[in-house]
């Protein structure tokens, strides 16, 4: 049997994945790059990013300021050497995107403009109106089409990493259209599969954000780092969870409670609406609990008010927000306040990787949201993630290309045997399975409800213990899952089952990591341990999978260079 074989194989076709692909080819034009994505790349969830990408480009800004804002924002859980490298690389990446055609919004002199953003002390968020992710994704994707060395496998779902002797030699992927399993071998593999927001019920994330890359690495024996750090964005639309960008506040919007009061003055008096996301989300939940939220058919909410900005400014800088309000809420944000409430948005945690994306497994790299390279710590600052995808996507692409140049592709076991094993596993577990009485949808919805309740904005020991119990029960129910679709062709039910399998895996890592961190830091807020505890927990949690049991946790020191931990007030 013949197998597709690559020097660098990328799993995921979002911003980090495509950036990695181009970086690999530009580092070495002879490198053969494959890209497997479960959707057409332009559908990747990068497309939904709105506000912008941070880089210290302006003369009044400095690397040190950007680094300090990021580290303070992370509640000192970021690795400072990683942050320092990141802030130095980010400006060139923004320029590179400009050269590739990204229509950045400009200053009157024609240079790339910037806007203020939460937790940033100066204007450093470059933006393309309020569809920055959409423009960046389409720009890199369309640019990638000119490289003949990049070959895509669209709508293929990776079910397993092929690992031999702690070395990654490729993947097994299900071709969704034909139902065929393929072994795709590679000298190096980069995971760039994005986030896991769909483990929560109320999330800004699209249906495809199911933690695939994290689960793949976790099962292959790589640790998942800081999984308790889940970001809740303060401003999602009730019911749908559609994201209302932080740029709304960056451009001067107010957050108001049911008394018409800018309540953030009690929580982040010096930053007000431009405080970091973790603190503002907690402030909103606190206000709700104290009876100062609006009551709506889909729960409590606050008002985000931009009416004072005027129609012209809104149409110039926030046109997509106006469109979303009109299309999905039936309101005109020029005339009406926007109802918003905190919503799961981003995963700081992820595949344990170093500054060039390398993991513990030789030849396996990770970048973007699915990775945790140590940039975001306990709380990511808004607009750092698009830049992160560029900087660390490119770094992983270069590192993987370099490694591939010296590596030989030899597998100890015959590839078709490995392929047969994996295809057999999935087929017997799902496709040829008889009986079963549990619906995928029912298990998924219950997992999402339990995650919202147990691992939300505020956590407690009891809540997390209960969550872990419930997840265990759901795992048992998943064994009895019923598959109604027996077709080989575009079987989305098999994909949904495989995704649910992954989500149950990473949910457990989140819950167990959160239970063990007995302090409040960044996005991880424990009601029973409201203070930060640097003595005990100025450390990364790394969770390792154990078959049939709770994951084993290890702790690793945070890298401190120039910024000693201080109290975090805004």
């Amino acid at each position: 049997m013949d197998f597709e074989s690559y020097d660098v194989l990328i799993v995921g076709g979002g911003l980090a994945g495509i950036r990695a692909a181009i970086a690999a080819v530009e580092a070495n034009p002879r490198v053969k790059v494959g890209m497997v994505s479960k959707v057409y790349p332009m559908r990747s969830h990068t497309v939904s990013a709105e506000g912008g990408a941070a880089a210290a480009l302006r003369p009044e800004d400095s690397y040190e300021n950007h680094a300090f804002d990021t580290i303070k924002g992370s509640d000192y859980l970021a690795d400072q050497d990683v942050v320092e490298a990141f802030v130095r690389e980010a400006p060139a990446e923004i320029i590179q995107m400009e050269h590739w055609g990204c229509p950045w919004t400009r200053d009157p002199d024609g240079k790339i403009s910037a806007r203020p953003f939460g937790g940033m002390t100066t204007w450093r968020t470059c933006f393309a109106a309020d569809k920055t992710g959409f423009y960046m994704l389409h720009t890199v994707f369309q640019t990638s089409l000119k490289y003949e060395q990049i070959k895509r496998h669209d709508e293929a779902f990776v079910t397993k990493l092929l690992v031999e002797d702690s070395r990654c030699v490729g993947v097994v992927a299900l071709d969704i259209r034909t139902g065929r399993f393929d072994a795709i071998t590679a000298k190096s593999v980069i995971l760039a599969t994005g986030g896991l927001g769909r483990v929560y019920a109320f999330t800004t994330n699209g249906n495809i954000c199911t933690g695939d890359g994290m689960a793949l690495a976790y099962r292959a024996g790589v640790g998942l780092k800081d999984m308790e750090m889940v970001q809740f964005h303060p401003t999602g639309l009730p019911f749908t969870g559609i994201l209302i960008t932080e740029a709304v506040r960056g451009e001067g919007g107010y957050l108001l409670n049911n008394e018409g009061e800018r309540f953030l003055k009690r929580y982040v008096p010096n930053k007000m609406e431009l405080g970091p996301r973790d603190i503002i989300s907690r402030a909103m939940v606190t206000e709700f609990e104290e009876g100062r939220g609006f009551d709506g058919p889909h729960g409590k909410y606050m008002h985000l008010d931009v009416r004072h900005l005027g129609e012209k400014a809104i149409d110039r800088k926030l046109p997509f927000m106006r469109e979303l309000g009109r299309e999905f809420m039936g309101i005109d944000i020029v005339k009406d306040p926007i109802p918003v409430r905190p919503v799961q948005h981003y995963m700081m945690g992820g595949v344990d990787a170093d500054i060039s994306g390398e993991t513990e497994i030789l030849g396996l790299y990770a970048a973007g949201e699915c990775a945790n390279v140590g940039l975001n710590g306990g709380n990511r600052l808004g607009s750092n993630s698009l830049s992160e995808c560029l900087v660390f996507g490119a770094a992983a692409g270069r590192a993987a290309a370099q490694y591939a140049a010296s590596a030989k592709l030899v597998t100890a076991n015959p590839v078709d045997a490995m392929l047969w094993d994996e295809a057999h596993r999935v087929e017997t577990a799902y496709l040829e399975k008889k009986g079963g009485d549990e619906r995928i949808g029912a298990i998924r919805e219950e997992m999402q409800r339990e995650m919202d309740a147990g691992a939300g904005v505020f956590r407690t020991k009891e809540g997390l213990e209960k969550l872990i119990q419930q997840l265990g029960g759901l795992r048992e129910r998943f064994e009895r899952v019923k598959i109604e679709d027996s077709s080989k062709t575009f079987n989305t039910e098999i994909v949904a089952a495989l995704e649910l399998d992954y989500m149950l895996e990473v949910s457990q890592a989140i819950a167990v990591s959160a239970l063990a961190r007995e302090e409040s830091r960044g996005a991880h807020a424990r009601r029973d341990f409201p203070e930060r505890n640097d003595e005990k927990y100025l450390k990364h949690t790394v969770a390792y999978r154990k078959e049939g049991a709770r994951p084993r946790l290890e702790y690793r020191d945070v890298k401190i260079t120039n910024f000693q931990p201080k109290a975090r007030t805004y």
Binding site: S48, F239, D485
Partner: protein, 246 residues
């Protein structure tokens, strides 16, 4: 409103079993005023029939996955509200003019090839080094191509285009709009490279200007305009003595 129900007639087609597509009816609870057709499909998949296949992701009108024919009109189902159809039944079919892979899933490989053919990237005679910083470009210069850059590749325009339905060699609305997006970009110098594809008989000249592509576009792109402008441009280059200059 616990008892309100809406009937969804969805196309079913499994090439392993079916000769041709058929319709299947589902009763779906109309559980919320904000419910969209995609929510109804998701309800079916979660609660009634796990085998119904369709694509979706962002459910906020930007990823472009969930385009389908809703009561005969191409729509993003994440943005087609059930309340606008209720109490009449809703007919959900795969996008017109494309081969059907399965149920509501169409084959859009043809567009992916056309997208590549128009060379949708910045082409320059001389690449500017990164160290030289950004190209200067004003917001007004961006306005020249802004609307053509809004395309999310959702394929609604192709589903609305009878010309494409009759001849799938036609380059079509979205690909031409994207070519125009780059041709109008002040940073781009690739017009000449793109012209052979655009000025081909199967390019812009195949369009007889039905204009429905621009009507159905969910993002306010006007592909019909892009095509007619390209016709004018190519003609001017041919007719006028200075037309062939850069």
């Amino acid at each position: 409103m616990p008892d309100k129900k809406v009937t969804i007639h969805a196309t079913r087609y499994d090439p392993d079993k079916d000769e041709k597509p058929r319709l299947q009816a589902y009763e779906v609870p109309f559980y919320d005023e904000s419910m969209v057709v995609l929510d109804a499909l998701n309800w079916i998949k979660s609660n009634a029939d796990g085998s119904l296949s369709y694509r979706w992701s962002c459910r906020m009108g930007i990823c472009g996955s969930c385009g389908m024919m809703v009561n005969g009109t191409p729509k993003l189902t994440c943005n087609a509200f059930v309340r606008d159809y209720y109490p009449r039944p809703i007919l959900v079919e795969p996008l017109n003019n494309f081969p059907v892979i399965r149920d509501l899933v169409i084959d859009m490989d043809d567009f992916m090839h056309k997208l590549k053919a128009i060379q949708p990237w910045i082409i320059r005679k001389q690449e500017m080094p990164l160290g030289a910083g950004e190209h200067r470009q004003t917001n007004e210069q961006i306005d020249d191509f802004r609307q053509f850059s809004q395309c999310i590749n959702c394929m609604l325009c192709y589903a609305a285009c009878p010309v494409y339905g009759l001849n799938d060699e036609f380059l079509g609305p979205a690909a031409t709009a994207l070519a125009r997006r780059y041709n109008l970009d002040s940073r781009d110098q690739g017009l000449k490279q793109r012209l052979p594809v655009l000025a081909d008989p199967e390019g812009v000249w195949e369009c007889s200007f039905v204009g429905e592509c621009s009507v159905v576009c969910p993002k306010g792109v006007d592909p019909a305009k892009a095509i007619q402008q390209t016709k004018l441009d190519t003609t001017m280059r041919f007719v006028l003595p200075y037309g062939n200059r850069e």
